[in-house]
């Protein structure tokens, strides 16, 4: 088992004119390989700051990030090796793929850069990865992103993230830009991959329903602080913190709605 640990991480941004903003305030948690943590909270709660610190795109102001007990290297080859182990899937598959390049190029790049497989095997590996995300590799490999649907593009982004054979995946709202009918397929794919490859997944979202079903644990973030952390069902079904309760009350829930038989909007006809 591999671990990724945040210990008392605080991040302060200095904004001209607005002074200092505490984006993260004493955040601690451990992500283990083979498990999924759902990170929920509203816009500006610090979810994406955590992703940036984990990928070392930002450095924490105080506190530590430990990969298997060791401090994350600040640069050079060792940082690159670390990043091989932790990959991101971004929200917008329209923006995260390069419109000029073929799908082959997108998957080849990490394979070649990190010498994941011998050069002669790269083509086979590209096909394998595309099949892994349930794409018909022969038909998509020479296409460009605009020729694919949103769901297909997000699958390509996942294949690219898997190319370096990472231990951890940070998925920042991976399905919120996709059509509802596509979302579940992509989430189920992520869940399958997580189980079969033993990945540790940090699933960042503001959708409580999917967070509940696709995570083992849920962490609720409010104004940079962890206000609740527990098993997924516990946090959603029996929320303790008032903030979690308010998030839950605000989330659409037809079951609760029709059980109450009155509009929670306060205006029945």
């Amino acid at each position: 088992m591999t671990t990724l640990e945040l210990k008392h991480v605080t991040k302060i941004y200095t904004v001209r004119g607005a002074g200092q903003i505490k984006a993260l305030d004493d955040v601690s948690f451990t992500l283990e390989s083979g498990r999924t943590i759902g990170l929920v909270g509203q816009s500006g709660s610090g979810k994406s700051t955590i992703a940036k610190i984990l990928t070392h795109l930002e450095t924490q102001t105080t506190g530590e990030v430990l990969y298997d007990g060791e401090v994350i290297p600040r640069g050079g080859k060792r940082l690159r090796r670390y990043r091989q182990q932790l990959r991101m899937v971004f929200q917008d598959p329209f923006a995260s793929l390069n419109p000029y390049h073929t799908i082959r190029h997108h998957i080849e790049r990490p394979l070649l850069l990190d010498s994941v497989v011998p050069r002669a095997e790269v083509e086979t590996e590209v096909h394998r990865l595309l099949e892994r995300v349930q794409l018909d590799s022969a038909s998509v490999i020479d296409r460009r992103p605009h020729e694919l649907s949103g769901g297909q593009r997000q699958r390509v982004a996942i294949a690219r993230a898997l190319a370096s054979r990472p231990t951890f995946l940070v998925a920042d709202e991976p399905v919120s830009m996709l059509d509802v009918s596509i979302r579940l397929g992509v989430l189920n794919l992520l869940a399958d991959l997580q189980r079969e490859e033993g990945l540790g997944v940090l699933y960042i979202t503001h959708d409580l329903a999917t967070a509940r079903h696709f995570s083992d644990e849920i962490i609720v973030l409010n104004q940079g602080r962890v206000v609740e952390h527990g098993s997924a069902d516990d946090v959603i079904l029996n929320p303790r913190h008032p903030y979690t309760k308010s998030l839950r009350a605000a989330s659409p829930d037809p079951e609760r709605h029709f059980a109450q038989a009155t509009s929670i909007l306060g205006g029945s006809q």
């Binding site: 509203q42 816009s43 949103g150 059509d179 509802v180 009918s181 979302r183 579940l184 989430l187 189920n188 869940a191 399958d192 189980r195 503001h206 409580l208 329903a209 999917t210 509940r212 079903h213 696709f214 959603i236 079904l237 308010s246 998030l247 839950r248 009350a249 605000a250 989330s251 659409p252 829930d253 037809p254 079951e255 609760r256 709605h257 029709f258 509009s263 929670i264 909007l265 306060g266 205006g267 006809q269």
Partner: protein
């Protein structure tokens, strides 16, 4: 005054590209006065094309290939939208039917204060108002949607996403229309802000009595806020019923598929693979 606000009969829109796309196919629907009608379906199903088509807001290559739309005005006069000339259409729009567009972030002019943008509605549609009267209207609107009159001189980038969406609602409300079409008005907002906006829409509807067509692909949300829901697929309305009917007794297979594609917040895991 009849109970029906808008009658759409046999409405069809085609995108005249190669090959032609029949975006809306023979849609007939009656909107009741004061109701919230939810319009659901995935991207490309024609829901936005239908909403734009009702107001003749489509541009080439979209072509309306058939259908009648009648607006049953509160005054008792029936307005046949096809017969309006350009000048009449200009006056009809926003006065009778207004719209809250998808993505308030981009719908506001970034280089004009929001008060000025709200005032523009009155400059065009109520040219007889004096500047002071226009300002008074803007003040009232900003108070109604709880943005606050003191923000009239703010630029869009100085407001949060939720406040910008409220400004868009104020703009749609400006002429006290009888129908407000809302196209994904809360999709970009987080759940807490979304809930506040929905409460406000509901309160305003009770206060002013307008009808709402609420377009989104978020079916759980629609089930909570709508009186009736129309499910669209490939340009056709495949099912229309009260929210409760759609939830408890969906008839169409596609409606069932859509309902099954949402993980439940509190219910069984069902469709989820984990």
């Amino acid at each position: 005054m009849s109970d029906t606000l808008l009658s759409v009969r046999g409405f069809s829109v085609m995108y005249d590209v190669d090959p032609p796309v029949r975006a809306v196919r023979d849609v007939s629907i009656e909107l009741r006065r004061g109701e919230i009608l939810g319009l659901a379906g995935e991207s490309g199903c024609g829901k936005t094309t239908l909403a734009y088509g009702i107001q003749r807001l489509l541009r080439p290559p979209a072509v309306i290939t058939g259908g009648d739309i009648t607006f049953h005005d509160a005054s008792g006069v029936d307005i046949d939208i096809d017969r309006l000339d350009a000048e009449q259409m200009l006056r009809f729009r926003w006065d009778k039917i207004s719209m809250v567009f998808q993505g308030a972030m981009n719908a506001l002019n970034p280089v004009a204060p929001i008060g000025k943008q709200l005032e523009d509605v009155f400059v065009v549609h109520r040219p007889k108002l004096s500047r002071a009267e226009r300002r008074a209207e803007v003040t009232e609107l900003l108070e109604i949607v709880k943005v606050g009159a003191e923000r009239a001189r703010s630029f869009p980038h100085e407001l949060s996403g939720g406040m910008r969406q409220r400004v868009m609602i104020a703009m749609a409300l400006a002429l006290r229309p009888q129908l407000m079409i809302m196209d994904e008005p809360t999709t970009a907002l987080d759940v807490l802000v979304q809930r506040e906006i929905l409460r406000q829409i509901s309160a305003l509807r009770h206060q002013f009595g307008f009808t709402v067509v609420f377009i989104t692909h978020d079916l759980p949300l629609l089930l909570e806020i709508s009186d009736r829901i129309a499910i669209m697929r490939e340009g056709e309305i495949v099912e229309l019923g009260t929210s409760e009917q759609i939830w408890t007794d969906p008839q169409d297979d596609y409606t069932k598929t859509l309902l099954a594609s949402f993980p439940r917040l509190t219910g069984e895991k069902g469709v989820v693979a984990r």
